[in-house]
Symmetry: C2
Subunit: 144 residues, 2 copies
Amino acid sequence: MKILENIEKKIKMTPQRAAILKYLEGNTSHPSAEDIFESVRKKYPMISFTTVYNTLQTLKDLDRVRELNIDDERKRYDPNVNLHHHLICNNCKKIVDIFIDFPLDISEEEAQGYTISCRHVEFYGLCPKCRKTKNKGQGNRNRD
Amino acid sequence: MKILENIEKKIKMTPQRAAILKYLEGNTSHPSAEDIFESVRKKYPMISFTTVYNTLQTLKDLDRVRELNIDDERKRYDPNVNLHHHLICNNCKKIVDIFIDFPLDISEEEAQGYTISCRHVEFYGLCPKCRKTKNKGQGNRNRD
DNA sequence: TGTTATATTGTAATGATTACATATTATACT
DNA sequence: AGTATAATATGTAATCATTACAATATAACA
């Protein structure tokens, strides 16, 4: 399901929300709240950071956005809520999707009494760009 | 390798560090910095939060501790640096270990040019205790 | 068009983590 | 054992992401 699909029926549509939704629709860059804020601000300079967080919360509640904890510095958001996994660059923090259905079933005993609701595989490594420029004093976050 | 093994040869040993190391050795509770601070403080009331963070940084640099991003509220630390995965309760944030070697190899194409250095599977769910007490206004972090 | 619930904004608060300057101390070398 | 010194501990302040809140504005619906 697309993030925008039928969303106007679920939430009150405002120009700010429309701009955030437009930015997120089909976006595979796994933006942080700040990324979203900075991008939307170009068209709506009056938008508030709080609105970005509020909208993300609303979208999370409606399962239209997934919050990722893979970046140790900030939360990242993914409008693709279908099952998939992620690969992050330890240097620039660029995240890419991994669409593989790994066998991750575990027994009840292994689950130690927990009821499991979801699974996520995180791959950590170095992206092609950072591998090339390693050992040159780099350490900057990706800003594609 | 145990966390304490040969560690005195690598770092300057102090009573504070010894207390932190003792707390971490064999600890499977995946404590936060605050957990460590509060526990160590019982014996060493003068210990500083900064010392806890500094020591954790030192241990990370020496690969004696692994920093976990699985809890969205705070970083958690694991003295077991051998390959394993984790299961977290969405309610109380209690984390348990999963010692299963899942097949997680991906092709070069699937890695999209990244050099992969490690893999981590995160399971999310509800622990037995929280499942029982659900819908009773609970929402509290685990404090075993 | 008016009403009203809901959203937006700006600012302030919070909470985790880091930076920094000063005081202390473990270690190595006489 | 005594001392030098490089590393560590401490306390406080700063930073950064995120959340709380109160006042204002507005989309949706009658």
